[in-house]
Symmetry: C2
């Protein structure tokens, strides 16, 4: 049984933020109809990483959705979209603010067509920000949201988080908001609009860095590599053949570490007496740890630290985590059969429900794969009319 069975989502989104959000809904069983321009469709179809020439980016973010083409610059295309809106529970868009209004598809207009609809908008800065005209790229959202100022090594330039967190965090908030609005509609019958911005989403994740500034000290934190703002040793360290982490917060962990290194005298060293004092003498302590760890391999270090019960871990690259026992046991990579790419591994949604299991409902659609089916089943169009639409490049 699917949690979102019978929920129809009209998906006008492209690339990352919107598709990531509607993929979460599709995995929970919603019927997501992705609307693309007949010429080329979603830019994410352009393959950077590919299986058999098919874009993995697109296949992953659009798994389990139906795909139709519609030219929204043509009056008849717009009319068809409006007819589909009448039959939908949710509409999601990630155009620049103002584009939907230009199409005659602002929330008040869509609400006229379907009063109960849930209308979700994703954008760089939100629908009403004084900065809403600025470009909504992930790099810009991360740069202006503050996160880059605290990401990266000490002394290095501000660094973009190595994944498009501006997009994906916004997607997660929007999925949460849509389901919340559906629950509310179930109880009250009311629809509503939802407005989520990438900069706000990034800002909401700042936690300690923001609290430090909002606190009495008004401290503006800078980049500090991998270390904890106050505690030590909670950081990345080097072994002979790579890196590993130690994550201790207290004297118990630290004394175990000292013994594991054969350096119990450090527990008496006044530079290392408490967590906070160690935090201030991080450079000295890191050097001491390196004197020990650089003679050993990562595997040797981790074996010693595990035996000594010092919280520590390897640092996996993408292949190591993807092929790990953990990812296998959690079924976080799923084989999906795609008509062109063939069997393709895609990442699953990281939520394990006991009843309404999340699961990938099928491959991503080919461009326009379901246009006929949707126009017939949802709107009752016949073959001849559909052919005319195709000839006129409406679909």
């Amino acid at each position: 049984m699917s949690a979102l069975k019978n929920i129809k989502v009209l998906d006008l989104t492209r690339v990352l933020s919107g598709p990531f959000c509607t993929a979460m809904l599709a995995d929970m069983g919603a019927e997501v109809i992705k609307v693309e321009h007949p010429l080329g469709g979603d830019g994410a179809r352009e393959p950077s990483a590919a299986v058999n020439g098919e874009s993995l980016y697109f296949m992953s973010l659009n798994r389990g959705k139906k795909g139709i083409t519609l030219n929204l610059k043509e009056a008849r295309g717009l009319e068809i979209l409006k007819s589909l809106i009448k039959k939908s529970d949710v509409i999601v868009e990630n155009f620049r603010p103002g584009v939907m209004a230009k199409l005659g598809l602002s929330y008040p207009e869509v609400k006229e067509i379907n009063p109960g609809i849930i209308y979700a908008s994703i954008s760089g800065f939100g629908q009403d920000s004084p900065m809403k005209h600025l470009p909504a790229f992930d790099l810009v959202a991360q740069a202006m949201g503050g996160i880059m100022s605290v990401n990266g090594q000490k002394g290095a330039p501000p660094t973009r988080v190595g994944v498009s967190l501006g997009d994906t965090s916004t997607a997660m908030y929007t999925a949460f908001a849509i389901v919340t609005a559906l629950l509310n509609r179930e109880k009250t019958g009311q629809g509503q609009s939802i407005d989520v911005s990438m900069v706000d989403s990034i800002f909401s994740l700042l936690e300690m860095s923001l609290f430090s500034y909002l606190g009495d000290d008004k401290k503006v934190l800078d980049r500090m590599g991998s270390r904890h703002p106050t505690s030590y040793p909670y950081d990345v360290f080097e072994a002979r053949d790579g890196y590993f982490t130690i994550a201790t917060f207290d004297n118990t962990g630290f004394s175990r570490l000292c013994e594991a290194m054969g350096r119990s005298e450090l527990m008496e060293d006044e530079r290392f007496l408490t967590d906070t004092i160690r935090g201030k003498n991080d450079t000295a302590l890191k050097e001491i740890i390196h004197t020990w760890s650089k003679k050993l391999t990562v595997d040797q270090v981790l074996e010693i630290l595990e035996q000594a019960r010092v919280p520590s871990s390897p640092i996996y690259n993408i292949q190591q985590i993807a092929e790990s026992e953990h990812i296998k046991a959690r079924q976080m990579l799923v084989d999906v059969e795609h008509p062109v790419a063939g069997p393709t591994r895609l990442p699953a949604m990281p939520v394990k429900f006991s009843q309404t299991k999340a699961s990938i409902q099928g491959p991503s659609p080919l461009l326009g794969e379901h246009t006929k089916e949707v126009l017939k089943n949802e709107l009752g169009f016949d073959d001849e009319f559909i052919s005319t639409l195709a000839e006129n490049k409406i679909i």
Copy 2:
């Protein structure tokens, strides 16, 4: 009107992942009852950043919740918890896997008490991973989830994302899952359990880095600073007095940039003919841009680039984004009156609903602030009995 009105959430979580999740539910109007140990409570009460000695971390992550104390190691404490479970819709916990079962509070046991309950567990690796014994610190989840291998400057060590994304991404997924399960329960009457892990959540955010590995080329991406995997110039650059971004993907943006720099001849340069070719000659192009930009201030650079319509942005530090016109307009910082700290600014949830507005329902609770109220109203205990419980250190 609140979307989650009348939803009762029993919150056994501490520090970050769980509290971040239940704060989202509280902002949507759920009644969240946070259960803490009578001695000291949630470790996050220990102030690192503080207002009037009160931990901002705790105040922010536990705003709008009720707080009760209960000693779960005492039989009577456990009995009281079970009585509260009977009256709850949702229970959320972030103990190490196995702890709830030791307390006699595994999902099957809790389901006996309340068949309709939604039981959400947050952990480092999940309830059934072969690695579930490993420490569930954010640093470890980021290290093993793969994200650190692609975060940071080229040649630098793998770098922890400068915020606790292992915790907060898991929180967002869990909040999504809980509301989805509530919607399902509304339709079917069924409760269920939810299991979300920090490593899985980080893994789900890898997108391009993971797709590159899953694709035909099996490319294991490394750290590449702020730049885009293929396109250029999409990166961080230096001006005389700081950093800024340029975010172009195409020849239109690039030719505008060349003209803005007074270097239109670069458009004919064979090293820079297309986006992908530029991506391969990033070092040369960065140097050319720096020759121009390092003579100017960030403000001057951005004024020129804005006029030339080249996508670009400043890079805000925490103070700059917190005090920006954008954050003001979006009401992303909200004044909350706290009985000890006084008026305190807290970050709001980044979703703007037209109907069921998210809003901070009140300050975080003092330790045990609502114990009496909850035991009286929910369980009908009288003053005398409550005093006995306090004397016996059950509450």
